[in-house]
Symmetry: C2
């Protein structure tokens, strides 16, 4: 037997040697006091800089005469030593999860020494995690983890066979309990993967549940574009679909949510299929999807969130719907927006004014920040703690 052991070990060692440098030997190193050292070996490069979500002005947008303008790319230069290693120490960087890119001779790329990436729509970003008290709620901790399932379902409403993510809480597989469900909707240019890859929704719930701060629940994360089957590369590209992707005002997606997704979830999973055990929220486009859905189905959800989305000019029909929603007495109506959000702050204020005018009971959260995941992750954590109680 010994000879087998030895020969197998030889093969194994050879296989191990095939591996590239360990991902733990990332080019990113979090130092004392949350300073962060970035380094990249690039002896032949002429200029290397870094841009990251923690930098003030990153991804900034503004409107000039109604036309949206992107701010310039904010970045910091790295300096090269005589071995060809470029590096820079930045910070302090507040504990959180951030996307970043290197710019190598003018081309923005992911960090070749970091396999942990996240996709923000059509852009791939390397991930920097700065541990600390403020980022504990999105960290992968040694707690029980729920399962994350990529599930396909039929949508007769859209004439599509589609993909969604379903989080089941720790203990779901081995238990018999029935659970409440949060329907969690993504924003424009994102897809069914955004709330986990960018939003860390599964980790937020793992951590809250482990601390007894949130009730164990399912999270259902569908794709909000009514003309897509799945995230890029994960589903067939479908053309000539009559359902318009941007259909709104109780559009195609919202109808498929009510007619196709909720019945699928309630027939397949161990969930409690009633109003008091359904919650819905979403960010930006998903916030509008959420609000449209509850306006048109006031008796479906007891817990309603609207993150960074609002309305511009309320009309009589909308006011009537708000009155009907009020009489349906949701247990929670939660509205939040960043005060420097160029896309949604004004419209959120209009929504808040409307809700106040009709004397609805609701929570309104204004945060420092813009139209980014830095506010949506804490919003989910706050919202989730208020559900099903």
């Amino acid at each position: 037997m010994k000879s087998v052991f030895v020969s197998i070990c030889m093969i194994l060692i050879a296989c191990m040697a095939l591996a590239q440098p360990s991902p733990t030997k990332s080019s990113v190193e979090v130092l004392e006091n949350n300073m962060v050292r970035f380094s990249l070996l690039a002896p032949e490069a002429h200029e290397v800089s870094i841009t990251g979500e923690w930098m003030p002005g990153y991804g900034s947008i503004s409107f000039e005469n109604g036309v949206m303008k992107r701010g310039p790319i904010v970045s910091k230069n790295l300096m090269k030593d005589d071995t060809g290693l470029w590096s820079v120490i930045l910070g302090p960087v507040a504990p959180n999860s951030y996307g970043y890119s290197y710019v190598i001779d003018g081309v923005m790329v992911t960090d070749p020494a970091n396999v942990i990436v996240k996709r923000d729509g059509a852009t791939l970003l390397s991930v920097l995690f700065v541990p600390g008290k403020e980022s504990e709620y999105i960290d992968v901790k040694e707690v029980h983890h729920g399962s994350l399932n990529r599930v396909w379902y039929d949508s007769p409403t859209l004439g599509l066979y589609r993909r969604m993510l379903v989080y089941t809480p720790p203990g779901y597989e081995t238990g018999k309990e029935k659970y409440p469900v949060l329907y969690l909707l993504h924003g424009g240019s994102i897809d069914e993967e955004g709330w986990t890859t960018m939003g860390k929704a599964h980790l937020i719930l793992d951590n809250l549940i482990s601390q007894g701060k949130a009730r164990p629940m399912l999270i259902v994360m569908p794709n909000g574009y009514a003309n897509q089957t799945a995230a890029p590369g994960e589903g067939p590209v479908v053309t000539n679909v009559s359902a318009p992707g941007m259909a709104f005002s109780y559009g195609a997606f919202e109808k498929s949510l009510v007619n196709d997704i909720i019945p699928f979830i309630e027939s397949v999973y161990r969930v409690i299929p009633d109003k008091d055990n359904r919650a819905i929220t979403g960010l930006s486009m998903g916030g509008m999807h959420s609000f449209n859905t509850v306006l048109n189905n006031p008796d479906l959800f007891s817990y309603i969130g609207v993150f960074s989305a609002g309305i511009r000019n309320p009309g009589t029909e909308l006011e009537n719907q708000v009155e009907i929603l009020k009489s349906a007495k949701p247990k929670l109506l939660w509205v939040g927006c960043g005060v420097t959000d160029p896309l949604a702050y004004t419209s959120t204020k209009t929504l808040v004014d409307l809700l106040r005018k009709h004397d609805l009971d609701f929570v309104y959260r204004e945060s420092e920040g813009a139209h980014t995941w830095f506010i949506w992750r804490p919003y989910l954590a706050e919202f989730a703690q208020l559900l099903f109680k």
Copy 2:
């Protein structure tokens, strides 16, 4: 209502504008006759080349005096036009799925215009898919898709709480049927995600099942390193674990598979918990894990595969185990290896000789190719069609 519709549309359009260029506008374009154009906008770069898995010699390794040597990086230069766009047309490239990287002024990076990537251990590669008859079996087709679940389970054997992937076949959620199970093990330097991201196991089964060529089955893909909780970034990094990651000869991982994983699967999922409805295979390290497991548990699996793994010097104890395995009469023993595999071809031949010496009934497949996914994907497709029949 119209004003709401209009204002919501305005918000939406703004959100859409935030998106980067569409991922369908990849820098990669498959032309007629499987020629492929690669292009990258990099006006300030001095040299741009591309390296990809279809290139002869890509990732080649050899042994000199027992020391493993990697071949040089094979690449093709791109040429720059006066707009700063670098491009090259390569091919013809045989229909398949390939990883590739750009090398920009000496730094190997993913394609910034392609969000579809795969992680090969500690390296992230952009993905080129060339459609065609030969690659249909790994394509995302308009067929019913199984679900892919990231599941956590307790491993008392290893003292770890760990992650695995579980594929359930189309119809699992909505049906009542019980299914057979394939345990599918990864190789060295990979993890529980490898068989789907690199190996396309879920798509291979989706396609075979849709054509009636394979029986609907579950696929269980655990992490084969006995000292890891999960793929990089997906689980807490665990130190001071007594279970050695490289333990072999019926080592720690194989014990946890038998003691922890199989009982978990058979208690949680609708599966048929008997020998004739269990299959096991794996590649390289996972092939050895598979063979070790069946040698030590000859009555657990009726279907056994060993991909690109073998033995060096069979001894008496191993020969005795092979005799016991023979008397357990597995319905299928399937061995395959690439003829130019520098790691496993010789040891596979030794295994084959041993099996012949003991007169076991087995399938032996020799393929053109080395220690790569180009042979493991077809192996899985062939093996899966022989199972549970």
